[in-house]
Every structure is written in structure tokens, then in C-alpha cells.
Amino acid sequence: MTEEEQKLSPKQRSRRNFLGQSLFTAGAAIAAPSLLNSCQNKTVSASNALVEGETMIGLKINGQLKTLNIEPRVTLLDALRENLGLTGSKKGCDHGQCGACTVLIDGQRAYSCLTLAIMQEGNEITTIEGLATEDNLHPVQTAFLENDGFQCGYCTPGQICASVALLEEVNNGSVSYVTRDLTNPPELASLSESEIKERMSGNLCRCSAYNGIVAAVQQAAGQTPPSPAASIEHSQVG
């Protein structure tokens, strides 16, 4: 058992294992976030060489090592979009105020616009492009599609990455601002709408597909969400 697992209650541990397996079978494997303690030291050596001007750095993105030549001031988001052609991560605000640029760093969701690419050397970065396999969408992607969790689609990669992380966080027994009893974290099967909404609030959607997104998270959490469709109350024959 890892140190962080020891800190979980036995109930949380078993839940984590159980759900961890069932949930992500169809999706890409994502490193479990180490929620209760922040990331352990990375393999990248803490070399303290001064970096000036453009430098060659290596980033692990969607399981592949990419090298690029950039100035240290380039954010992870701009490196993805401008240097690596990975435009799935969106720039909505460039200031951590919208969530469109959400990616997973070592399995934890983060805004790629607020971190420098050079700071992420050695970390596992997963973007929207890395969630589906060739044949299968990630279950969260499918849930978004079926529940109409988007309209224009611009916030969508961020919403999906955030949702993927959210499920894993709940699996790991994390709490939110609206969790009534902080010593008793909610479980996926009974995760309430207000919990989902609070936990997803770092992803804005101006098209306001919020109902569909919540439904998609519910579906991915194994719940049965209400239908996203309208009810049609009158004969439409004509």
C-alpha cells in the first residue's frame, strides 16, 4: 500500500479499487492522481542550470515524448496549441478564468494556461486528444455526446478532461465546498447534482450546456440521468 492509500479509510480504499477498475476499462489509462499528497518527486533531475532564451525541452504528452524548442515564458497551453499542433486544448481566457484549457497533469486536472511548459518536464500530460483509443471514445466522451453536453464545443475538451478527473477524485474520497460532512466524502453512485455542479464550476460554458454536462457526469458515474431531450406536448404532424 502506498503512503497515500494508508491515509484512506478501508471503505474508501475498496471503493477506489472497485470503481477505479470498472470506470476506465473502455478509456485510456490515466495515472491515478495522488490526491492526498501532492506529486512525489519526479524522475527529472532538479538540475539547476539557468535557462535563457529558446531551449530544447521534452514533454510527455498522451504517452509520447515530444521535444520542442521554446522560450521559458511559453505556457503549456501555447506549447500544445502553437508548437505541437494539439489544438484540442482551447484558449478561452488565457488567465485561469474559464477552464477551456484543462488538461490532466499526472492525472490531476489543471489549467494549462497557468503553467509554463518548462515546469512540466517529466510529468505525464493527458489532453483531450489522448482520451479516446482508435476505436473507442472514452466513456466520458460518449456520455457528453449522448447527453448533449455541449453546443459550440469550444469549452468541451476542458469540460471532458475535468469530468474525467472529477470521477477519479470522487473515487479517491475527495471533498468539495458543498460536502456537508467533510469527514464523510460522497460516493460516485450517490454523488448529488449540487456536488457535481460545484466540482465542475471551474469550467465555464457560455453556450450553457450545463444540464447536459451534469447529466454526462452522472452517466459516467454510473447513475441514470434524466433525458436531455425536450418533451413534445403537441402533435407535430403536418
Binding site: 488567465h95 457528453f144 459550440c152 457535481i196 450553457s208 425536450a230
Partner: protein, 706 residues
């Protein structure tokens, strides 16, 4: 017709959007691309005395700097609604005058985004400043000129000769205000301009009007339209602010020609707040008079809004008044003032939205005054005809929206007394309001191809900014051709395709699907087949690769016989924790009458999107300028709040009514904007029911509930 039409169908463009494959305007990867960063004015009125670009030019990676001293060559466009249209009549960098803070005063081009941004900050400008006019309360209002031909002033009945002599039991007179709101689409304004040989250009830019944008840019660069190509397959939200070129777009396209490199310009979120449109502040006074049964005898509606010094846009709030309730005496007045602000523009239900906030609030006040249920009051005053056009409405089911909504919401349990419903320590309020939006359509074309691989392609230069156009077009074709939706491929957003019209005024679906229907029928005729399968068989027999047909569809004489509007009703529940001024919306029911519903899933999302934007307007959306300098102090998504997940309840959407076949052969009226109308009034009406407090100034931030 009803194999797929009306069903709940997943989006055609869904897979591309959930996998990150959907490529938005400025994301197109082009070899040799360079980056432009805008320099914007930090004063709101005055002129540039000196502008020093030397330091910026010396910054590593800088390729060019444009200011009013060396603006790229641009031609003046016709700028009427028909041939070309730009949002702001003043062309960028045309002189050294500053009309509003955030006005573009320069463009820096460099090899990377970081270097362009850094160099832009190095530009030193000395200004001659003048006192600014940014206070809407103290502005100088004048009678507003019409924007589309119809006089904005109107009088009927006793108002024709003077004032209305109120002898009725009840009158309500009140003033309602809304704050400046911004569209804030999640995709910022951005484009790439790629010139070839100085005589043709491809512009990758999100646009709600592909062909209009093509014609306009063609005029701006002095080329025939066929030498300008617009590529806009996906739009990350528009809501009215991505229909015509803005100054940054003009600058990008013209500068790219001069530097002979593909150029990308992304407007930063901050810059966007000031220089790519907003909904004006509005102030409306409404006077209602009614007898004790609640029959309206007079409606007087005066509206004020503001525009910029460089273009005219009036927020037409009074347009809804003759549409909603019948009365013999009516007076409408619309006034406009000029402020040192960026140019306001169409924003989801321009006019209808603030107009319905005022009218539906006043109706609620009248209902309380007369002690009549607000639904009943509306039913008693429903109008069968458009009172200015004097034409009957076609396929109108407004009353059914009210009654169906009431039943779904459980309205009959409502206590007719403010502060009468409680849930623990919380006050609970129920409110309702009506919704309306005109049905519009325009002349468009679509091409349909049947291919020997068993698929059909639909091609048109329309677009889908999240409205579901890809999907309803595919569904229309699938239905008409007798094919599964999966076998239809839809291509939109490219000016090489037939004219697909404008995604604005909620008209794209109403315009395009009849053309798609006609093109499908026509291609079957060409093939002399009953359905696509027969046509495919003939293709195989004949060895041809494809059948193809193009058809157009346009409004006809129907507008002389009928007035066309969509209708709806919103019902909401709020809770108010009075001690700490915490307001939450806990329940929402919307019932809409929009003619035929093509896709019950995407149509529901459109209505929900409207409702939620309306909730934002009701609860939190407001821009502010510094009173002295006129510079924005609300300028990004942390200072401009619009709803997050946590603000929004489940929104139950239903549709009533039959297809409106008098309007078009598909019977669809469109649903992009109606959802937002009336929303803010439903909320303030519910707040009144909960607390006894009438809020007439939006948004209802916590300070207003103390």
C-alpha cells in the same frame, strides 16, 4: 414526414467536438504563420499625440508594427446591410482620434505570440485626453433613427392626439434598467489570413455569416468575392458578435497582405470586452393601465440605450410591445445617446430581451396590484394580431405555453401573497414571464449530392455555432431521401459552398432546412427516383459517380398575410436566504411554441442556453467603466461573471404547437433566441413573490437584496 424529424438525435459534429478534432478559425495550422498582437487605447476620448514604436520594432522577432501612421491599405466598403457590413463604420487606424477605451491603435507582428505580446507592451503612446462621456444616466438622449426601415416611434388610439387619460382602476408606472452585458463567447475573436500571390486570400475566421463576410472582406481588400475564401467550419459561440468583420479582422487581413506572411490575430479576452461589441445599458419606462378585470387600456413604453461615437446601434426594446398584449392605446418611444464606449451590437434577442424584462415585470406588478394571477392576466390580454402590422399571427399557441407550463410547474399551489412560502429558513418565490421572438428567414441555397458509395452530401455556406445546424440539416436530408442520418454528410462554413445565409435572428434553421428539403426533392427528381436507395441503384446501373442538385428557398408573399412569431412561457422557483442575501434558482420550466421541432435534443439545448444566459443577466452580468477615464474595470472572465455550473438548476423544456406551414415548407420558426426573452423578469417576479421586494435594476447582486 416523421421518421427522424422531431426525434432526439446526437449531434453530427459531436464526435469531432468531444475528441478535440474540431478545428476553430485561428487553429488552422499554416506553414510560416506569424502572430499579431493588438495595441489598444488606454484612454476613452482624445487623440494620439505621439506614438513611439522604435523599442517595439527593436524587440527580437518583431516583423512589423502598424499604427495610424502606416496603416495597411484598406478600401472603404459599401457597408449597407445588403452587400457588405462591418460592425464599426470607422476603419481601423484611420486617424489618431480615440473614441473609446480599447480602440485598436496598433498591431505588432512577430514570429511568436509571446514576442508579439511583449513588443506590443513596448509601444509608447502619449495622448491628448478630453473629458469622457461614459455615464448612461447622464447622457444626452435623442430620438433614435430606425435601423431597418420601421419607425421606432409609434402611437395608437388616444396617444395619437395627446396623452392617455387614465380612468382605469389600476395603473403601473415604473422604470427598469439593465446593465451593459457582453457576449463573451468561449472562443475569443481570432482569425488567420493567408494570402496567395497578392490577389487571393483565405480567411479562417469564425463567422455567423459566411457569404456576407466574404463580400465584405472582398470590398475591404478591393478584390472580387471569388478571390476571397472564408473558412469557418466551427464557431466557438457567437450570440451576435461574430456576424461581420470587426476592426481587428480588417487589420489582420490587410496587414497580412503587406507582410506577405500568413498572419494570426487573436483578440485577448480583455481587449475583446471593449472592442468586439456588447449589449447597451438600457433604461425603460413602462406605463400600464387596466380595468379591474385586468383588461389593458393603455401601454406606454419608452426605451433608452447608448451607442458609440463611431457607429449607430439602437437596442430596439419596444419591438415586442405591439406583439404581446392587446390594447387600444399604445405609445412607443426609443431614444439613443452617444457614449465613449465601443460599438454595441446584436446580442441574443437584441431588443426583445431587455424589452421583455421591462414589459413582463410591469405585467407582474399589475397582476399584484389587481390581485389577479399573472397567468390569467396574460391570457386576458393575449393579442391575436400584430398590432402594428395589423396581421394575424400564424400558428400561435401562446395560451397553451402558459397553461402547459403552469401544470408542469405546479403553479396552482402558489400562495397569492409575497413572503408566504418558506422552506426551513429560506423564503421561496415562484415567478413566471412570457417569451417571444419574431420568426425570420432569408433566401438561401443548398446543394445535395447522392454518391455511389451510398451516402448523401449536403453542402451550403451556412454554419453551426452550436445551434445544431449540422444535425438538423442531416435529419432533414435523411427524412427526405429516406436514408439513415449516419449516411448524410454535411459541409458548412466555407464560402466556396452555396449561399447559406446568416446565423442571426434565429433564422438559420428556418432558412436552410426548406432549401435542403427542396434540394433533396430535386436530386431525387433528377435521378427519377422515389428515394435515395432507388437513386443509388440507378447510379450503379448507369456507372455515374453522383447525382447532384441545388435548390434555393426564400420567403414569399406569406408575410403579407400573417405575422410570424414564436411564443413561450417561463416558470421559476427561487430561494432567498434573506439574512445573508443569498439567492438561488432552484427550479425552472420553459414551454415554447416554435413551430416544428426538428431535433428534440438540440432544440432543448438551445432553449436552455437562452434561459441560462438570461439567468446570468438576471443575477450577475454587468460591465463597468471607470467613471473618470472610461477605461473598463470589468474586463475578463473573473470580473465579468456569467453563470457557472453551480448557479444553474435543471431546466425542463417542453414544446407545444404544430408546424407553422404558412411560414415555410418545413414549418420551423427557429429557437436560438426566444429562450432568453422573459427570463430576467421571471426571476425578479419570483424574487418579489419570495421577499416582497421589487427589483427593477438588473442584475440582482447580493447588495440589492440587503
Amino acid at each position: 414526414m416523421n421518421q427522424v424529424i422531431g426525434k432526439s438525435v446526437n449531434r453530427k459534429d459531436g464526435r469531432a467536438k468531444v475528441t478535440g478534432e474540431a478545428t476553430y478559425g485561428a487553429e488552422h495550422q499554416i506553414q510560416g504563420l506569424v502572430h499579431g498582437y493588438l495595441v489598444t487605447a488606454t484612454i476613452a476620448k482624445g487623440s494620439i499625440r505621439t506614438i513611439d514604436t522604435q523599442k517595439a520594432e527593436a524587440t527580437p522577432g518583431v516583423i512589423a508594427v502598424f499604427t495610424h501612421k502606416n496603416p495597411p491599405k484598406v478600401f472603404k466598403p459599401t457597408n449597407n446591410w445588403m452587400t457588405s457590413k462591418i460592425y464599426e463604420a470607422r476603419l481601423p487606424l484611420s486617424d489618431n482620434t480615440i473614441h473609446y477605451a480599447g480602440q485598436i491603435v496598433g498591431l505588432v507582428v512577430a514570429d511568436t505570440f509571446e514576442r508579439a505580446r511583449d513588443a506590443a507592451q513596448q509601444i509608447q503612446i502619449e495622448y491628448e485626453t478630453q473629458p469622457v462621456e461614459v455615464n448612461a444616466q447622464q447622457a444626452n438622449y435623442q430620438k433614435a433613427k430606425s435601423m431597418f426601415g420601421e419607425d421606432m416611434e409609434y402611437v395608437a388610439g388616444e396617444f395619437e392626439t395627446g396623452d392617455f387619460s387614465a380612468v382605469d382602476t389600476a395603473t403601473v408606472e415604473a422604470t427598469y434598467t439593465t446593465e451593459v452585458e457582453i457576449h463573451a463567447p468561449m472562443e475569443p475573436h481570432a482569425l488567420v489570413a493567408h494570402w496567395e500571390n497578392n490577389d487571393s486570400v483565405t480567411i479562417y475566421e469564425p463567422t455567423q455569416w459566411v457569404k456576407g463576410s466574404q463580400r465584405t472582406y472582398a470590398e475591404l481588400v478591393g478584390l472580387p468575392p471569388e478571390r476571397v475564401r472564408i473558412v469557418s467550419p466551427y464557431i466557438g459561440g457567437g450570440f451576435g458578435c461574430k456576424a461581420f468583420p470587426w476592426p481587428h479582422g480588417i487589420l489582420c487581413v490587410t496587414a497580412a497582405k503587406e507582410i506577405k506572411r500568413p498572419l494570426k490575430v487573436v483578440v485577448s479576452r480583455r481587449q475583446m470586452t471593449a472592442n468586439t461589441g456588447h449589449r447597451s445599458h438600457t433604461e425603460q419606462t413602462i406605463r400600464l393601465a387596466a380595468n379591474k378585470e385586468g383588461k389593458l387600456s393603455a401601454i406606454e413604453h419608452t426605451a433608452k440605450s447608448c451607442t458609440s461615437p463611431v457607429d449607430v446601434f439602437t437596442e430596439p426594446c419596444t419591438g415586442i410591445t405591439p406583439v404581446m398584449y392587446t390594447t387600444p392605446n399604445m405609445k412607443l418611444k426609443q431614444e439613443l445617446a452617444v457614449l465613449n464606449v465601443g460599438t454595441p451590437t446584436f446580442m441574443r434577442a437584441p431588443g426583445e430581451n431587455p424589452g421583455m424584462f421591462a414589459l413582463e415585470s410591469a405585467m407582474d406588478e399589475l397582476a399584484w396590484e389587481l390581485n389577479i394571477d399573472p397567468i390569467e392576466l396574460r391570457l386576458r390580454n393575449e393579442t391575436k394580431e400584430h398590432q402594428r402590422k395589423k396581421l394575424p399571427f400564424s400558428a400561435k399557441h401562446f395560451a397553451e405555453c402558459l397553461t402547459t407550463g403552469a401544470e408542469k410547474f405546479g403553479w396552482s399551489d402558489r400562495q397569492m401573497q409575497p413572503r408566504s412560502q418558506q422552506q426551513g429558513d429560506l423564503l421561496v418565490g415562484w415567478g413566471m414571464a412570457s417569451a417571444t421572438f419574431p420568426a425570420l428567414r432569408s433566401s438561401v441555397e443548398a446543394k445535395v449530392r447522392l454518391l455511389d458509395d451510398g451516402t448523401a452530401h449536403v453542402l451550403t455556406a451556412g454554419n453551426d455555432m452550436g445551434t445544431g445546424a449540422y444535425t438538423v440539416i442531416a435529419m432533414t436530408a435523411a427524412e427526405t431521401l429516406g436514408l439513415p442520418v449516419e449516411n448524410i454528410r454535411v459541409e458548412l462554413g466555407d464560402s466556396m459552398l452555396p449561399n447559406g445565409g446568416l446565423a442571426g435572428g434565429s433564422q438559420m434553421t428556418a432558412s436552410l432546412t426548406p432549401a435542403v428539403l427542396a434540394a433533396c426533392q430535386s436530386v431525387l427528381e433528377t435521378a427519377q427516383a422515389q428515394n435515395a436507395q432507388e437513386a443509388f441503384a440507378k447510379l450503379r446501373e448507369s456507372g455515374r459517380a453522383a447525382y447532384e442538385a441545388t435548390a434555393s428557398s426564400a420567403p414569399g408573399e406569406e408575410g403579407k398575410k400573417f405575422a410570424f412569431n414564436s411564443w413561450g412561457a417561463h416558470f421559476c422557483e427561487v430561494t432567498v436566504d434573506e439574512e445573508i442575501a443569498r439567492l438561488r434558482i432552484t427550479r425552472w420550466v420553459s414551454v415554447m411554441n416554435i413551430g416544428r421541432v426538428l431535433n428534440s435534443k438540440t432544440a432543448a439545448s438551445q432553449i436552455r442556453g437562452g434561459v441560462i444566459m438570461g439567468i446570468g443577466q438576471a443575477l450577475m452580468e454587468e460591465c463597468h467603466l471607470d467613471p473618470t477615464t472610461g477605461y473598463p474595470v470589468v474586463y475578463d472572465l473573473a470580473t465579468y461573471h456569467f453563470p457557472a455550473h453551480a448557479d444553474i438548476p435543471r431546466i425542463e423544456v417542453s414544446f407545444v404547437g404544430e408546424p407553422d406551414l404558412d411560414f415555410n415548407p418545413m414549418g420551423v420558426r427557429g429557437c436560438g433566441e426566444i429562450g432568453i426573452t422573459g427570463v430576467a423578469a421571471a426571476v425578479t417576479n419570483a424574487v418579489y413573490h419570495a421577499t416582497g421586494k421589487r427589483i427593477r435594476s438588473l442584475p440582482i447582486t447580493p447588495d440589492k437584496l440587503l
